[in-house]
Structures are given as C-alpha cells and as structure tokens.
C-alpha cells in the first residue's frame, strides 16, 4: 500500500537529515557573524530557505494541478493538495520566524509598509482559502477539479506577486537573491545554499511521507467498503 509514493522515501529522508544537520553545523560553526546584525542574522538561514521552499511548493502544487486537469488522474490532485498543505505549514514557520527576526532587528514584530512581508502574508492568506474551498465540496470529482483550478490560479499568482515585489523599492527588508548575486560573502552563501538544499529535501521527504499515509488511508477505506459489501451479500 502506498508503494508508489513511499518509493525512495528512505534515501530522501536520510539525505534530508544529513543535510539539515550539516546546514545547522555550518550556520553555527562556519558562517561568519554579520557585521551589521551580529548573531541575530543566523535566523536568515532558516527563515529564507523556508520562504523560498514554501513559495516553490505553492507553484509546484499548481503544476501538479495542471497535470490533474490534463490527465484526469486523481493522484495528481492528491499530490497537489499535499504540496500546498506542506507549503502552508512552512509558510506559518516563515511568518513566525520572520516576526522573531523583525523584532530582534527592527524592534517591531511586523512592519506593514514593507512589500516583502505584506505580499507573503497575502499569498499565505490566499492559500488559507484553499481548505474551506476544498472541504466544502462533497463530491470527490468536483472537489478535485475545483481545487485544481484554485491551485493553478493561485500558483500563477505567486511568481507574479514575487516579480511585483522585486520591482518595488525595498524599505527595510533586505534582498537576498539578486541578478548580481546579492551581497552575501562566500561562507555565508555556501551555508545558505546548504540550508536551502536541506529545506528542499525536507519538503520532498514530508511530501512523500504524507502521500504514503493518504494513499494507505484511501486503500483501507476501499478495503472496508468492499468487505462490508461482501458481508451484506453473504448475509
């Protein structure tokens, strides 16, 4: 049961654990202290990769939804749902760690006139609508179809929103990745890339884990229904 989704779970999980540990070791023992922010800047290595992976997960959810609508294969809808679900969890982490970093750096938990913060909140709240939309529809086929349409529309909004924010002038939030390569020194850049890789691997691991659980749960339901039917016909 769930063999399709759990395939390769163990190596990915191992790689995620090793990379995460390596990333943390680099953050605290290798990356230099930031000249401006000092030790507080260490939050950057967990906050930014989480934000990038969360936004990437939303877009991936949209791409999977396109595949669902094109093929009619409901497993793509399940993949899309799990990707969005995980991205919302990571998004929660982004908002909390971002607030902690903001308080330490700027003295405020939240700054409303900063486009990066507000745009992320808008994307996050947009995706929070996905749950009531999805679970208010009882018919499984309609539920999958409507959810896919939402995932595609919202997934397209993410890069548009990102581009619009990049074009806007930064007020206080720093730009990490730019066409000129940003302003990260070599050690910081390497540490950041390892942390980003760790976050991607963690996302894939958790995505596969939840898909395995969902698939097993669905197969169990089917088995139950079949047994009940058999018992009824036998009785």
């Amino acid at each position: 049961m769930g063999a399709v989704f759990s395939k390769g779970l163990r190596p990915v999980a191992t790689a995620a654990a090793v990379t995460t540990l390596a990333g943390f070791a680099l953050v605290f023992f290798y990356a230099p202290l930031d000249a401006d922010q000092g030790f507080v800047q260490k939050i950057f290595y967990v906050h930014v990769p989480m934000a990038i992976v969360a936004l990437g997960g939303f877009v991936a959810g949209g791409i999977m939804a396109i595949r669902h609508l094109r093929t009619g294969d409901s497993s793509w809808d399940m993949r899309s749902y799990v990707a969005i679900h995980l991205s919302i969890i990571l998004g929660t982490g982004v908002l909390i760690t971002g607030a902690i970093w903001a308080k330490a750096s700027w003295g405020h938990w939240w700054v409303w006139d900063e486009p990066v913060l507000v745009s992320f909140l808008i994307v996050f709240l947009l995706y929070c609508v996905y749950y009531p939309l999805r679970f208010s529809i009882e018919d499984p086929e309609r539920q999958a179809r409507y959810s896919s349409v939402f995932a595609i529309a919202a997934g397209a909004f993410v890069p548009i929103n990102f581009t619009a924010v990049r074009l806007a002038e930064a007020v206080t939030h720093p730009r990490v990745l730019s066409q000129t390569g940003g302003s990260l020194p070599g050690e910081m850049r390497f540490t950041f890339l390892v942390c980003l890789l760790a976050m991607v691997l963690l996302f894939v691991t958790l995505w596969k884990l939840e898909l395995t659980s969902k698939r097993a749960s669905m197969q169990l339901k089917r088995l139950r229904t079949r047994l009940e039917l058999r018992a009824e016909t036998a009785g």
Partner: protein, 67 residues
Amino acid sequence: MPALPLEEAGKYVAGAYVVFLALIVIYVAIIGAKIARIERQVSELLELTAEDGSVDRAPAGERASVG
C-alpha cells in the same frame, strides 16, 4: 538599530530555530500517528477476515509497505 548583544540575540535565534524544529516534529508525529493507526486498522481487518475466512491474508510485504 544596533546589533543586539549575544545573550539577547541568542534568545531570538533559539526561538526561531525551535519554531522550525517544533513544526517539523509535530508534523512528523501527526503523520506517524496516522500511519500507526492505519497499520492497526489493517491488522484488525485482516484478523476479522481471517476469522471469517472470507479474504486471504495479505502478503507480508504488502503489509509492511503501509508505513
């Protein structure tokens, strides 16, 4: 704003990393509990069907892949 002293900054950094780890641990615990419940239900169903003799016992490999 000037950089915070290490003792004060440490609290914020620890807080951020604890939030991240807590999210992952809670998520894995919830999914792990779900998978354990499914495994238990599958075992119960298999026991029931074995008593009835209505369905053959699933191969061991198939049961193991649930988790």
